[in-house]
């Protein structure tokens, strides 16, 4: 792991712990309350964690450019090393977040089982289902992360109106991946939408890769802006 990636993990470790603790508490309390008033037909964990991770990775993408880029360069790191380290950090974080959703779903399933079994309509947990959830969430997480970084890079490098114009193509990885691989289908389960999964995955990853390349091209020689920290 690079120096930059290690440093970013040191910064984000407490924030990541808070994020997942908060999601766990909200999902547990929400499920307990829901179970008192109605039959639980959904996994609150999947909904909260699945949505939360995408927005959280979008924020990380924004922060990498808006806040961290300048701080690392001010401490003698080259743009290339920062972008590489940020990429490693972002990719590992996306994998970890995407893995946490099926892991949490499994834990939720075990808790339900310990208390006499989940309701019939609750989304059952299985190894194959966990892989499917992960397979949908990881490309989505990467797409949202890259879009966050790319949108901010447009405003960072260019004037505000150019950043606004670039906002639409910069949001494509996020929007397309969400449309093709969103985990919340008609039955709140991973579902292929417009395209079969393999095709959706290919299109999503290609767009995310293109977004990553565009991000690198914008940031590789950008001037370090004079903005407040």
């Amino acid at each position: 792991m690079t120096v930059v990636a290690r440093s970013l993990f040191r910064i984000y470790r407490p924030i990541i712990v808070w994020f997942w603790c908060t999601v766990a508490v909200v999902a547990a309390v929400g499920t307990a309350v829901l179970a008192q008033v109605a039959e639980v037909k959904l996994s609150l964990w999947i909904i909260i964690a699945g949505h939360g991770l995408k927005w959280w990775l979008l924020v990380i993408g924004v922060m990498l450019v808006a806040t961290h880029f300048k701080l690392y360069l001010a401490n003698g790191v080259t743009r290339r090393d920062f972008l590489l380290g940020a990429g490693v950090f972002g990719a590992i974080t996306a994998v970890g977040y995407a893995a946490m959703v099926p892991i949490g779903h499994g834990v939720e399933w075990l808790v339900w089982t310990a208390f006499g079994g989940p309701p019939e309509s609750y989304p059952a947990f299985s190894a194959a289902g966990a892989v499917r959830e992960f397979g949908h969430l990881l490309p989505a997480a990467l797409g949202w992360l890259v879009s966050g970084a790319l949108i901010t890079a447009g405003f960072y490098r260019f004037r505000w109106w150019a950043g606004l114009l670039l906002l639409v193509p910069a949001a494509l990885p996020l929007a397309v991946t969400d449309a093709l691989l969103g985990i919340f289908g008609p039955e709140d389960t991973p579902s292929a939408r417009v395209l079969p999964y393999a095709a959706g995955l290919t299109v999503s990853l290609l767009l995310t890769a293109a977004g990553t390349a565009a991000f690198y091209l914008q940031m590789r020689d950008v001037a370090v802006a004079r903005t407040a920290g």
Binding site: V3, S7, T67, K70, T78, R220, A223, T227
Partner: protein
Amino acid sequence: MITDIVLRDLTVRYGPTVAVDGLSLDLAPGKIYGLLGRNGSGKTSLLSVLASYRRPSSGTVTVGGVNPFENRQVMRQTCFVRDTLDVADSDRVGAVLSFAADLRPTFDREYAARLLDTFGLPAGQRVTTLSRGQRSILGAVLGLAARASLTLLDEVSLGMDAAARTTFYRELLADYLAYPRTVVLSTHLIEEAAELFEQVIIIDRGRLVLHEEADVLRGRGVTVTGPAAAVERFVAGRTVLSEQSLGGVRAATLYGRLDDADAARADADGLTVGPVGIQELFVHLTGAQR
């Protein structure tokens, strides 16, 4: 250790605005340079290029014979502290220093902690709550403790009180003597920082006005003090930068060196000849062009 810095026909443009205009400079290593210029003269743009914060629009920069832009070795040994201070406002002072120490192999944590004590800046205080002067102190601590071969300090004493500035100049000189490196100090507080400068670079409207040894620059002018009538006679026909009178005594600052005959004449007229401050020469050299 960073060696020679060479700039050739360096130009920095922001749209139609030319911040640095065809500037050429040679900076030898291991000196303290005073970078002087009026507001908008291109000082920060020049330092930004030296620090690889931006590419020049045209011209070349080499540090130790290589282009510093995106050069890992050079950038690691370069520390640029801007007046706006590149730190996270939400962090505490201690966290800012730890972050720098994690990334800079030459950063001296113990020295940084000592400097905080010397300046009276609490490590637990958040950056966002610091006053303008305290932010500058944090910048000074970052710049000094980094012990970078090329240290670029841009208006780093902005907002510091007199005591803090005195401490900063003293610490800069002491640490520079203990750990020699190239320091470029940009400041508008010329007179009080002038004693630190080994060489002075003056730029105006992005162009190089002057680059020479500080002592040579001081020799470009003299102050003549004595009876008003005698001073008036002596300065007739010379370039007078400034004049002050008190009772029957007048002091005139002249631009230009005195030859032996002039010095003898001044002595004969009962006039005292002394050195002139860099600030007065700076005002003359840059003011005349506007």
